[in-house]
């Protein structure tokens, strides 16, 4: 099963206030996640099951693209994300899109995990060992031989190029490109300004363009 990018959402329109809070304003995007979260707060346990169904794949995809496919324990991290959602059940308020709130939790876990990976790598280097965890692994997992060698090469290059981006650029680019978050929403997730996010994404795209340029010329996509 593969996960396509999130469907595009109209980020410019206002966040939909769930029905329980007085009805959505005209033209607002309905936020299923917020509805489910509020229903769960109200005692509907089934709503939480649906939340897991709807969002666990998105969380896994974000962790995978940020941490890399060579990172062990991504599934455990998905569980950790939802455990934090459980703990935050009582204090959740629908002031933003649910996915924005959820990705904030994912981002914190990503930061912790990245720091942990780096310290593990430092320890391994100090001990003279070759560390194979974290972002440095060649990102060749999940490539289908049926895709063909050329296409597999392109995908491998794309993953490597994304992995080489600095953390802040990588999360901003992934959230914008694959999860359809607006600049303002990404700024909320990573705790930065909209202007800074716009700049980060611009730089990330420039880096990707420069890194992948030989591919464009070779493949003439």
């Amino acid at each position: 099963m593969t996960l396509p990018p999130d469907p595009p959402q109209r980020a410019a329109v206002p966040f939909a206030v769930p029905p329980a809070a007085g009805g959505a304003p005209e033209g607002a995007v309905p936020d299923r996640g917020a509805e489910l979260m509020l229903a769960w707060q109200g005692g509907d346990e089934q709503a939480f099951h649906e939340l897991v169904d709807v969002y666990s794949g998105q969380v896994y995809a974000l962790l995978t693209r940020f941490l890399g496919r060579g990172h062990p324990g991504r599934e455990d991290l998905v569980q950790e994300v939802f455990l934090r959602v459980v703990k935050a059940r009582a204090r959740y308020t629908a002031t933003a899109r649910f996915s924005t709130w959820l990705y904030t939790i994912v981002w914190r876990i990503c930061i912790n995990e990245t720091e942990r990976s780096r310290s593990r790598r430092h320890l391994s280097l100090d001990a003279g060992l070759d560390d194979e965890g974290g972002l440095e692994l060649p990102d060749s997992a999940e490539l289908d031989p049926a895709e063909g060698v050329a296409r597999a090469d392109v995908i491998r290059e794309v993953r490597a190029a994304i992995a080489e981006l600095p953390d802040s650029q990588r999360i901003a680019m992934v959230l914008a490109r694959y999860h359809s978050l607006s600049f303002a929403e990404i700024a909320d997730v990573v705790g930065s300004s909209e202007k800074a996010i716009k700049s980060m994404i611009h730089r990330a795209r420039e880096s990707l363009r420069a890194r992948l340029q030989p591919l464009f010329e070779r493949e003439a996509i």
Partner: protein, 176 residues
């Protein structure tokens, strides 16, 4: 070689073709600002389109049964935390029962003959249910919870094994 007359490409409707033609005749074309902007926009848009097309190739395969395992992990965590709470409550309640029982015996004295009144002039009586019963209530509630939430094996383990024992907690999770 003298450069040819400057052409104005600002009003062209097909800037790409015009650009190709232009580059074909003049290796250092001089474009109007408007034409330069349009060509730049066109090339940028094309470059963005290509980059997006390439990024689109990167899909994430989801492990089968991910949602079920997430739910199972959350159930196990919830049970673990509630079990820990039950054991702490039970321990506190048991301690309360012992204290209450001790308080009941205290007025009888060590030899069981000389009863002294407690502070405030009241004499505790074993017949009075209040202190012991109140102290035992959390225990009874915990037992009720165990009765409802756990099967007989789990209840036995919960009441005997220290919850910090990871092996038995794993057993509980497997049983769940």
């Amino acid at each position: 070689m003298t450069p040819g007359p400057e052409k104005n490409f600002g009003d062209t409707r097909e800037p790409r073709r015009e650009l190709d033609e232009l580059l074909g005749v003049d290796p250092a074309p001089r474009l109007s600002d408007e034409a330069r902007r349009r060509v730049h926009d066109l090339l940028s848009a094309e470059s963005d389109r290509v980059l997006d097309a390439v990024l689109e190739l990167d899909e994430v395969s989801l492990p089968g049964g991910l949602e079920d395992r997430v739910r199972a992990a959350i159930r196990a965590d919830t049970r673990r935390r509630r079990l820990r709470l039950v054991r702490w409550t039970a321990a506190a309640a048991a301690a309360g029962v012992l204290v209450a029982a001790g308080a009941g015996w205290l007025p009888l004295g060590v030899d069981g003959l000389s009863a002294e009144p407690l502070a405030g002039g009241q004499v505790a009586s074993l017949e009075s249910p209040s202190e012991e019963l109140l102290a035992a209530l959390p225990l009874l509630e915990s037992l009720e919870f165990l009765e409802q939430e756990f099967d007989s094996f789990e209840r036995e383990v919960a009441l005997v094994v220290d919850p910090r024992d990871a092996v038995f907690l794993e057993l509980l999770e497997l049983g769940g």
